[in-house]
C-alpha cells in the first residue's frame, strides 16, 4: 500500500491547469477549421413561417447555412423522452432556441451572416406559469402531453397508511415553498469542434459530462453506425449538470461539418449558455409532516409542480426525485407523493447539482424545524429521534447500508457550540440545522440495451513500467482522474507518478456512463479497483515464476512485490512487469462495475435506488442586518458521510463548492423572467456568492467505510449541497423569528419581512424550547 488512499493528494492534472497548458474544447484548433454561429429565436412560442438565407449567403466566407429540417431526428438524454432537435423544426418553444446555423471562415463572418438570416414567425400562446400548463392549454408545447395540458411527467406514489397517519397525528406541519430557477454557471462556456473526415468518420471534441450519451445522440441523429462516431472529451471547465445532456449545439457543429466536410468549431457566448440552461427547475412544492406527541414522524406528504421549460431533458427523473429523495434521512412510515413536471416556454430545465432533491429538502427541513418548535423540542433532538439507522430499508424499498447521519449531526452540533447558541444569540444572530442524503450513482443505467456494465476501466502497462488508465469517466474538475490514479496506485503498491490517466476518447476508452448522479467515485472506483486487482494477479504470477514461491505469497508495497518471511524474494515492480509481458509483449487488464439488483417492483421503483447513500448534517450561523435585510453567513459546520474519504482535499473542495452554489440559490441567484423573457442572461446580472461573501466552512468527515464502495467510499459531489439551504434559513428564523419559504432570500425580501414584523408588533427572537409547554 502506498498510502495514496485517504491522503490529501493534489489533482494529477493540477500542474497542467495552473500553467495554462490544459486544453479545453474552445482552445483546440483543426486545420481548415470553420466557425459556426447559431441564429436564435426571438420568440418564445411560435410557428416558423419562413427562413430567408438570401442576405446571409452573400456574406464573404460563408460556407454553409442550416435549418432544422435538414436533420429532424430527435434526441434526448433519456431513451423515453427524445424530444429535442438540433435546430427548431416547424416551431420554436423558447426564446433563445436555435432556429438556423451558419458556418463561415471566421467567427466574424459567421456572426455577420447569422444576423442577416431573416426568420418569419407566427406567434402562438405562450406559457410561462406552470399553473397554466396543467389544464386549459389551447396550443400544446409538445403534442405528446395528455389532453389540454403541457404535462411532461406525472408521478403519484403512496406507501403505508398516509390518511390514517395525518388523522391520528398529534401534530401536523405544512410548508409551501416557491423556488426560482437557477443555473449551473460553469465558468467554461460550452464549446465543440466537429470534424467529418474523408474516412467517413465523425470526430467530436466537446465540453461534455456525458461522452457516451453524446456518442449515442450523434449516431442516432445522423444515422451513422456508432463505430463511425468518435467523441473526445478534453478538459472540461465545470459542469454541475449543465453539460450532462447531449446538447443541440454539439449536433449543430456536427451537422455543419457533414455539410461542409470541414472541421467546424462552435463556442457559445455566455448569453447563449444562459439560454441553453438545463438548470434547476423553478418549483412550487408543499410538504406535510405528521408526528406523534413525542416527535416521532408518522407520515409525509409531498406535492411538487415543476417548471420543465421547453423540453424533457432529465425531467422524468427530476419528477421522481422531487418525491422519493425525501424518504431519508428520517424514518417515514407513510408517504404520499404527487409530482407534475410541465412544459413551459422557458429555456429547458434539467439536472443541476443535487438534481431534483434541493427544493423538497428545503421545505422538509424547514417543516422539521417548525415541528420541533411546536413540540418544544430542540430541532437537533427531533432529528436524532427520527433518523434512519444503518442497514435498513425505507418504506419505498431503498436499501440503506452504511449511514453515519447520527454521527454527522452529533459532530456538527458539538463543533458549532449549538447548545450555547440556539435561541440564545442576540437578535439578528442565529444558528440553524439542516440534514440530507443523496445517491452514490443511480442504480439503473440510463440505457438498458445492449446490456453492459455502468463503468469499465482498462489498464495497460508499458515496457517502461508506466500504467496507462483508460476510462470513459468524465473528469469535469471534480478530480475523477486523480481518484482513478489513487485507486490504481494503491492496489498495485506503486507511486502515483507511475499512473497516467488518458482523456476520454470513445475509440480507446471503455464505456462509463458519465459524470452525473454522483456515480463516478463509486462505480468507476470499483471498476478501477477490480482492473488493478486483476493486473496485480498477473504480476504476482510473474513474481512466482521468478522466485518459485507461490503467487499468493506476494503483496505489493513500495513499488515492488514482496513475500513476507522471504526478504530475498522481493521483486521490484518493473522486473515483475517485464517478466509478465515476456511472451506476449503486453500487460493489460480490465475491471468493471455493475450495480446490484435493487428496488421494489412497483411503477417507478428504480428511481432513487442506489448502491449507497451519502448523509449529511450542517449547522450554519448567520448575522442578519436588521437595517438592510442582508443575510451574512458567518460559519458553516458541514458534517458529511461519504464513507471513507479517498481524498479529503477533494472532498472538502466538493463541500465548499456545494455550499457556495447552495448559498447562491438561497440568497440571490435567480433566472429572472418577465413572462417568458429571461431578463438577466449574464454573469453581471446573475448574482452569485463572491469571495467576500463566502462563509468559513469547517468540514467534518465522520463517515465509516461503506461495505460496497471502493475502499469504503461513497459520493461527495452532490449530497453536500441540499442541507446548506435549510440550515441557513432555519438560522435566519433563529435570528429574527421569521420563516421564509419563498426563495431567494434577497435583502429586499428580508427587509420587507423585517418591516412587516415590526409593524405587526415587534421583531423578536423565537422563544427557546424550555419556554414551551410540552
Amino acid at each position: 500500500m502506498t498510502g495514496t488512499i485517504g491522503g490529501r493528494v493534489p489533482l494529477v492534472d493540477g500542474p497542467q491547469k495552473v500553467t495554462g497548458r490544459a486544453q479545453y474544447a474552445g482552445d483546440l484548433q483543426r486545420p481548415g477549421m470553420l466557425h459556426a454561429k447559431i441564429v436564435r429565436s426571438t420568440e418564445a412560442h411560435a410557428r416558423i413561417l419562413s427562413i430567408d438565407f438570401s442576405a446571409a449567403r452573400e456574406v464573404p466566407g460563408v460556407a454553409a447555412l442550416l435549418s432544422g429540417e435538414r436533420y429532424p431526428r430527435t434526441f434526448g438524454v433519456l431513451p423515453i423522452t427524445q424530444d429535442e432537435t438540433l435546430l427548431a423544426v416547424g416551431k420554436v418553444r423558447y426564446r433563445g432556441e436555435g432556429v438556423a446555423a451558419v458556418a463561415a471562415t471566421t467567427v466574424e463572418a459567421a456572426e455577420r451572416a447569422a444576423r442577416l438570416v431573416k426568420v418569419e414567425y407566427e406567434p402562438l400562446p405562450e406559457y410561462d406559469d406552470p399553473r397554466d400548463s396543467t389544464g386549459g392549454v389551447t396550443v400544446k408545447i409538445h403534442d405528446e402531453s395528455p389532453g389540454s395540458t403541457n404535462l411532461q411527467k406525472e408521478v403519484r406514489q403512496e406507501f403505508g397508511p398516509v390518511d390514517e397517519a395525518f388523522h391520528s397525528a398529534a401534530h401536523t406541519v405544512e410548508v409551501s415553498g416557491t423556488f426560482q430557477g437557477v443555473t449551473h454557471a460553469a465558468l467554461e462556456p460550452h464549446a465543440v469542434i466537429a470534424e467529418y473526415g474523408p474516412d467517413g468518420r465523425l470526430t467530436v471534441w466537446a465540453s461534455t459530462q456525458v461522452p457516451h450519451y453524446l456518442h449515442r445522440a450523434l449516431a442516432r441523429v445522423f444515422d451513422l453506425p456508432a463505430h463511425r462516431v468518435r467523441v473526445i472529451k478534453p478538459e472540461v471547465g465545470g459542469g454541475f449538470g449543465g453539460k450532462g445532456d447531449p446538447m443541440p449545439h454539439e449536433l449543430v457543429a456536427a451537422a455543419l461539418s457533414l455539410e461542409t466536410r470541414r472541421p467546424v468549431k462552435l463556442v457559445l457566448s455566455r448569453e447563449e449558455v444562459f439560454y441553453l440552461n438545463h438548470g434547476r427547475h423553478p418549483t412550487r412544492n408543499k410538504v406535510r409532516l405528521a408526528a406523534g406527541a413525542d416527535g416521532t414522524l408518522t407520515g409525509l406528504e409531498v406535492e411538487a409542480l415543476i417548471d420543465g421549460g421547453a423540453s424533457s431533458s432529465f425531467g422524468t427523473v427530476t419528477t421522481y426525485y422531487n418525491g422519493v429523495l425525501s424518504v431519508g434521512p428520517y424514518r417515514i412510515p407513510a408517504f404520499r407523493y404527487h409530482g407534475q413536471r410541465v412544459y413551459t416556454n422557458h429555456p429547458p430545465s434539467g439536472a443541476m447539482r443535487a438534481h431534483g432533491s434541493v427544493n423538497t429538502r428545503y421545505s422538509l427541513e424547514v417543516a422539521m424545524d417548525i415541528l420541533a418548535e411546536r413540540l418544544g423540542m430542540d430541532p437537533t433532538e427531533l432529528r436524532l429521534r427520527n433518523f434512519l439507522p444503518p442497514n435498513t430499508t425505507t418504506l419505498n424499498e431503498f436499501r440503506i447500508t452504511s449511514n453515519s447521519v447520527r454521527e454527522c449531526l452529533l459532530a456538527a452540533r458539538e463543533r458549532s457550540g449549538w447548545a450555547k447558541k440556539f435561541r440564545s444569540l442576540p437578535l439578528g444572530q442565529g444558528i440553524g440545522v439542516g440534514c440530507g442524503f443523496f445517491i452514490s450513482g443511480s442504480n439503473s443505467p440510463i440505457h438498458f440495451t445492449p446490456k453492459f456494465p455502468q463503468s469499465t476501466v482498462h489498464l495497460k502497462v508499458d515496457v517502461d513500467g508506466g500504467v496507462t488508465v483508460h476510462s470513459g469517466a468524465a473528469d469535469i474538475g471534480q478530480g475523477s482522474q486523480t481518484v482513478l490514479a489513487q485507486v490504481v496506485a494503491e492496489v498495485l503498491g506503486v507511486p502515483i507518478e507511475r499512473i497516467h490517466v488518458s482523456e476520454v476518447d470513445t475509440d480507446t476508452s471503455p464505456v462509463d456512463l458519465g459524470s452525473y448522479s454522483s456515480r463516478v467515485t463509486f462505480m468507476m472506483g470499483n471498476a478501477a479497483e477490480r482492473a488493478a486487482r486483476s493486473l496485480l494477479e498477473q504480476l504476482k504470477k510473474a513474481a512466482s515464476d521468478l522466485t518459485g514461491l507461490p503467487a499468493p505469497s506476494f503483496v505489493p508495497a513500495g513499488d515492488a512485490l514482496s513475500a513476507p518471511g522471504h526478504p530475498e524474494a522481493t521483486i521490484d515492480f518493473l522486473t515483475a512487469v517485464h517478466k509478465a509481458m515476456e511472451h506476449s509483449g503486453a500487460l493489460q487488464s480490465s475491471g468493471s462495475y455493475e450495480s446490484p439488483p435493487l428496488g421494489g417492483s412497483f411503477k417507478g421503483a428504480k428511481a432513487g435506488t442506489s448502491p449507497a447513500y451519502s448523509f449529511s448534517a450542517y449547522v450554519a450561523q448567520v448575522d442578519v442586518d436588521l437595517d438592510t435585510g442582508r443575510i451574512g453567513v458567518g460559519k458553516v459546520w458541514a458534517a458529511f458521510d461519504c464513507g471513507t474519504p479517498l481524498n479529503p482535499l477533494l472532498v472538502e473542495g466538493q463541500i465548499e463548492g456545494s455550499i457556495h452554489m447552495g448559498l447562491g440559490q438561497l440568497l440571490g441567484e435567480e433566472l429572472r423572467y418577465r413572462k417568458t423573457r429571461l431578463m438577466n442572461p449574464s454573469l453581471l446580472d446573475y448574482k452569485t456568492v463572491s469571495a467576500t461573501e463566502m462563509p468559513e466552512v469547517e468540514c467534518l468527515l465522520v463517515g465509516k467505510a461503506d461495505p460496497e464502495g471502493p475502499f469504503g467510499a461513497k459520493e461527495a459531489g452532490e449530497g453536500p449541497l441540499p442541507p446548506i439551504l435549510p440550515a441557513v434559513a432555519n438560522a435566519v428564523y433563529d435570528a429574527i423569528g421569521i420563516r421564509f419559504t419563498d426563495l431567494p432570500l434577497t435583502p429586499d425580501r428580508v427587509w420587507r419581512a423585517l418591516r412587516d414584523a415590526e409593524k405587526a408588533g415587534g421583531l423578536r427572537k423565537p422563544r427557546p424550547p424550555e419556554a414551551h409547554a410540552r
Binding site: 490529501r8 493534489p10 489533482l11 492534472d13 493540477g14 500542474p15 497542467q16 491547469k17 495552473v18 500553467t19 495554462g20 497548458r21 490544459a22 486544453q23 479545453y24 474552445g26 482552445d27 449551473h184 454557471a185 460553469a186 465558468l187 467554461e188 462556456p189 478538459e235 472540461v236 471547465g237 465545470g238 459542469g239 454541475f240 463556442v267 457566448s269 455566455r270 448569453e271 469535469i476 474538475g477 471534480q478 478530480g479 482535499l649 477533494l650 472538502e652 473542495g653 465548499e656 463548492g657 456545494s658 455550499i659 457556495h660 452554489m661 449574464s682 454573469l683 453581471l684 452569485t688 456568492v689 463572491s690 469571495a691 467576500t692 463566502m694 468559513e696 466552512v697
Partner: protein, 153 residues
C-alpha cells in the same frame, strides 16, 4: 505593432478592433487566457499589463503596444511552478481549472504587498468568478504563498 508577452518580443499587424484576449489566444496561441463571460464580469481573461491585472476581454490590443504583458504561460520560471502556482495545486485551490489562470494573475501582485490579510485577498479576488471551489482554498493558497514570503500572518 510591437508587443512584449512573457518577456518575448512580437511584431504583429493588429486590427484596431482586435481585443487583447483574441490577440493572445488566436494570434499567439496562448490559450491559457480564458474567455468566460464576454463582459468583464468573470475575470477569467485577466492578464498582467505592466504588472497590473487587466481584463483582456475589455482591452483593445492596440492599447497595449510597447507594454509588458504577462499571461499564465509566463508565470512559471523554467521547469518549476511559481510558488503561487504550487500553492494552488497543493492546497486544492483549483478544480476545473478554468478560472485558475485569471485567479493566479490577479493574486500574483498581492504577493508584492508588505503585508496581506485574508480580507484583502477576498476583496482582491471578488471580481474573479469561480464556480467550483467556493473560493475557500483559493484564499488559503494565496495566503500560504504570501506567508512563505513572510508577507502574511
Amino acid at each position: 505593432m510591437k508587443l512584449r508577452v512573457n518577456s518575448l518580443e512580437y511584431d504583429l499587424a493588429v486590427l484596431p478592433h482586435r481585443l487583447l484576449v483574441d490577440l493572445l489566444r488566436e494570434d499567439l496561441g496562448l490559450t491559457g487566457t480564458k474567455r468566460g463571460c464576454d463582459d468583464g464580469s468573470c475575470g477569467a481573461c485577466t492578464v498582467l499589463v505592466d504588472g497590473k491585472p487587466r481584463h483582456s476581454c475589455l482591452t483593445l490590443g492596440r492599447l497595449v503596444e510597447g507594454k509588458e504583458i504577462t499571461t499564465i504561460e509566463g508565470v512559471a520560471s523554467g521547469d518549476g511552478l511559481h510558488a503561487l502556482q504550487r500553492a494552488f495545486v497543493e492546497k486544492g485551490a483549483l478544480q476545473c481549472g478554468f478560472c485558475t489562470p485569471g485567479m493566479v494573475l490577479t493574486a500574483l501582485p498581492l504577493l508584492e504587498r508588505v503585508s496581506l490579510s485574508e480580507e484583502e485577498v477576498r476583496e482582491a479576488l471578488a471580481g474573479n468568478f469561480c464556480r467550483c471551489t467556493g473560493y475557500t482554498k483559493i484564499v488559503e493558497a494565496v495566503l500560504s504563498a504570501a506567508k512563505a514570503r513572510g508577507r502574511a500572518p
